[in-house]
Point group: C2
């Protein structure tokens, strides 16, 4: 992570106490914190929701297609196209989890991995840490063998098709859009070509 120049507005909130409200095995913990703001105000019930850390992978083949899957997403209540993703197993490193999830969900593998970013999924409540990866030169090694509840159809999409599917609402996952954007905007992934340099006053 880079660092922003510190200002007086950056003061961390001080956690004065925390109480667990709900804990569901490895899936979720909800608690409330008593926090003290930099201006001295005390907030008694600031929520915190912890999900397991997870990985999301933008894997790009040599012929510049992104490996995605089409599946029913119960949260949305309909089918959508998503990047391969999943929660990390206990003791797993993010890269290890990313390689495992890509292989299990799609049958693809790569030996050219770049970590992109690792934000938390909820800016206020934490959510879970989401580790994004770019995998270049992805190639099919095996048939998918996901243990997930959802049935999946593997799709290889080029950039034009990805944009069309985002515009038409067929790619709606914030995780997937973030992964695609990080690969495209920051790393000019093959298949997700470089941006035109702006010539205006931007």
């Amino acid at each position: 992570m880079g660092t922003l120049k510190k200002t007086s507005k950056d003061g961390k909130w001080e956690v004065l106490g925390s109480k667990e409200l709900l804990h569901i095995d490895s899936r979720m913990t909800v608690s409330v914190q008593k926090v003290k703001l930099p201006d001295g105000r005390i907030i008694d019930d600031y929520c915190r929701v912890i999900f397991p850390d997870c990985v999301i992978i933008a894997a790009v083949t040599k012929d510049k297609k992104v490996v995605m899957s089409r599946q029913y997403l119960h949260g949305f209540g309909h089918a959508s196209i998503v990047l391969p993703a999943g929660t990390m197993n206990k003791g797993e490193e993010p890269l290890q989890a990313a390689k495992r999830e890509l292989l299990e969900e799609t049958g693809y593998d790569s030996d050219d991995w770049t970590p992109l970013a690792s934000p938390y999924s909820h800016t206020n409540y934490v959510g879970g840490k989401v580790n994004f990866f770019l995998a270049r030169n992805a190639r099919k090694l095996a048939e998918p063998d996901s243990k997930d509840l959802e049935e999946m159809e593997i799709l290889l999409l080029n950039e034009t098709s990805i944009i069309k599917n985002i515009k038409s609402g067929n790619i709606v996952s914030m995780g997937s859009i973030t992964g695609l954007a990080l690969a495209k905007l920051c790393f000019n992934a093959p298949g997700i070509r470089g941006m035109r340099r702006s010539t205006g006053p931007v």
Copy 2:
């Protein structure tokens, strides 16, 4: 929303029952569902977490800068640069909430609004519906008057600076990255210039 061609893999899960586990006023409801998968399997405890619907705004000025704010985010535990965003008030329409949040948080207004997409924040657990908007020709009307707990510093960032800040980890919110990507990838927002058309086999 566009529609994907239906396949046998699209079968909705049937909700056989639901039990509320936790409810915190308007902020959060956690429940478990008993669901039936298309292949007949019954899952007894599929989690559901509902946050309030919210709005995230990519507002671009006439001179092609995006209106963002720099603030401490307790979920991340450090300062970050984010798009203006907030939860919808009861009875509010998404556009109305977007206009209110942009004005309150940044003092900016616009009369050229485009809805971008409205995904849910969690593909499996629902989260909340996140309504993304593009506001063109944003102009400053007033001083910010946010009721938020966080102190904010308003920043006007051009495209080069946005990409630099994403790469260096100073823009880490998935909501903000998604909003920027939707504006850039799908709508070639002014200030977030058009993409180079790929000439390769993508």
